[in-house]
């Protein structure tokens, strides 16, 4: 067994959604960790935490459609010394139960792991009531919280395992299903808080998270072939704590950065990267790409991502736009001060 303890491979993951591999990995972890308990709010099947529940019925609790109480109970279970994994849709984890996550879990810095499914536009047909395009922004503002958005199924497996070696609250945001595979190998250097360079590049850096990492890699290939551009792609799977070093390296070496996320462009990955850049005092051509601060329509997730410009086509267009943009270098500033 590899050092990570992962019993699943990319080949297994290829046939599984992020949710499915989450359920399977958690059920595996349950053998080694009797302190793990599972909590659901009538979404055991939808979130796949039910896989754990089927295996460990005495350590699994359904609370019905009552998310606030579920997070309060999770806090109590953590206070008792257990490690609750709590799953519901991202919209409900971040908004319906918002204050319970903040005050019961984060304020007391409890060992509660939130695996929030159906993130971003992935619940396409569900419409605005079920889309979670604000959750990263909301949860990022909670002290003590770590915020992870895995790119594909195998990264979800790594993230779930990493939860167990990361004390305190963690919010892992995954999709509804059919997340395209990004990684070729099962084992790579996954660590919460450290970005993964998916592709080297000199001309521009695309910093993506979650399902948009796949599209960023595809866009980079198109841009290299058609535009002769050298595009660096960074998978910023952890939005908090953000990997400042990866951002500063990209800023220094490529001087052009775009961020891409399946989320409102306000408050999530783009904002976290922008904060690092702004506070560095260094100039850079910069563009956030995300949902343009609106409630999006219902539809197939692929169509929605295309419609709002957060898929391969949208990234290609935005990179071309940013490549043509002027920005002031450090020297330019000398004249104006």
């Amino acid at each position: 067994m590899p050092e990570s303890g992962l019993t699943w491979t990319v080949y297994d993951a290829d046939k599984m959604t992020q949710r499915e591999i989450y359920g399977a990995v958690l059920a595996d972890l349950g053998d080694k960790h009797p302190e793990i308990v599972g909590l659901s709010a009538d979404l055991a099947k939808s979130t796949k935490i039910g896989t754990f529940g089927d295996k460990f019925p005495d350590r699994f609790f359904n609370f019905g459609i009552a998310e606030q109480n579920m997070f309060a109970v999770a806090a109590g279970l953590a206070k008792a010394g257990l490690t609750p994994f709590v799953s519901t849709f991202s919209a409900f984890a971040s908004m319906r139960a918002c204050e319970f996550v903040r005050t019961d879990v984060c304020y007391q810095n409890l060992n509660v792991k939130i695996i929030a499914t159906h993130g971003g536009t992935s619940f396409g047909s569900g419409g605005a009531t079920h889309h979670a395009t604000e959750d990263l922004s909301i949860v990022r503002a909670f002290p003590n919280m770590k915020l992870v958005v895995p790119a594909d199924a195998i990264e979800t497996a790594h993230a779930v395992i990493a939860c167990m070696r990361t004390p305190g609250p963690v919010y892992v945001r995954i999709g509804r299903g059919f997340e395209p595979r990004v990684y070729e190998k099962t084992e790579y250097d996954f660590e919460i808080g450290r970005a993964v360079e998916m592709k080297p590049g000199r001309d521009i850096t695309v910093i993506a998270t979650g399902v948009t990492v796949f599209h960023a890699v595809q866009a980079a290939k198109i841009l290299e072939a058609d535009d002769k551009l050298s595009v660096r792609v960074i998978n910023m799977h952890t939005i908090k704590p953000i990997d400042r070093d990866a951002i500063m390296k990209a800023l220094t070496e490529t001087r052009r950065i775009i961020t891409v996320e399946d989320h409102n462009y306000i408050g999530g990955l783009g904002a976290a990267v922008a904060e690092v850049i702004a506070e560095s005092g260094k100039g850079c051509a910069f563009q956030r790409v995300g949902i343009p601060d609106c409630f999006i329509s219902h539809g197939y997730p692929e169509d929605l991502m295309n419609l709002y410009g957060i898929d391969t086509d949208g990234i290609v267009a935005k990179v071309r736009d940013v490549m043509g943009r002027e920005f002031e270098t450090d020297e330019d500033w000398e004249d104006e001060v």
């Binding site: 609790f61 019905g64 009552a66 109480n69 109970v73 206070k79 005050t103 019961d104």
Partner: protein, 276 residues
Amino acid sequence: MALTSQERTDLKRIGREIRETIVDVTGWSGGAHIGGSLSMTEIVTILYWKYLRIDPKNPKWEDRDRFVLSKGHGGVGHGVVLCKRGFFDFKHLEEYNHTDSMLGMHLDSKKVPGVEVSTGSMGHGLGEAVGLALGARVLKKDWRVYCVIGDGESNEGSIWEAAMAAAHYKLSHLIGFLDRNRMMIDGPTEEVMSLEPVADKWKAFGWNTRVVDGHDLDALADAIEAAQAHTGSPTMIVCNTVKGKGVKFMEDDPAWHYGGLNSELVQKAKASIAEM
């Protein structure tokens, strides 16, 4: 087992001392949630001096009973009780509300020895108590969980979510107390948002329910011992209380939900308590 006359005398004395200290802290701290702290005084006194399995010198003792003050604005009352029960030094009460001191309006479980759960926002503590009770079951521990909720707090939907869950999971080792002082910030509970018939509500939610005079130590003792012996469902003891109990000029006046006391009022309040 009913209280012995010695126990009754002792608990009454301790209750008076707690009330006096609540008044003192309210005076020197500039203001506190005094009304609801005085209404729950007998409930917390009998728990901390008779029924809770705790060790103030070892507040993290694994097998201790868990007490959750879901009505977290009773923090001044809970803080006084913990101090008098020996969890920490009196100087912390003197520093109540000081910037970065140990004790503030709502007690922080990471700072205050003996506080299991950080409460303050309404409708959170009962759910956390449910979690502590479920935790005992998973870990095969025999600790009990005692939780005091407020009546104004009972407007929160999350209280009833927790009520459903506790009954569903048959948490008979969870014993709740409703501090039914009938007052909330904006006035009487039945004017602001009707709760009655509140005992019937708890029964309908599947709780073993009993109504007592929340200032009657013998009635509380009977109810707690019956709850401890009860199996198959959680217990809610609806405690009819008086907001501001013991301080005549505060009793039943919602204005004393939160307030400050100058030295004259401190003396007046203490004189009133002495007559209890």
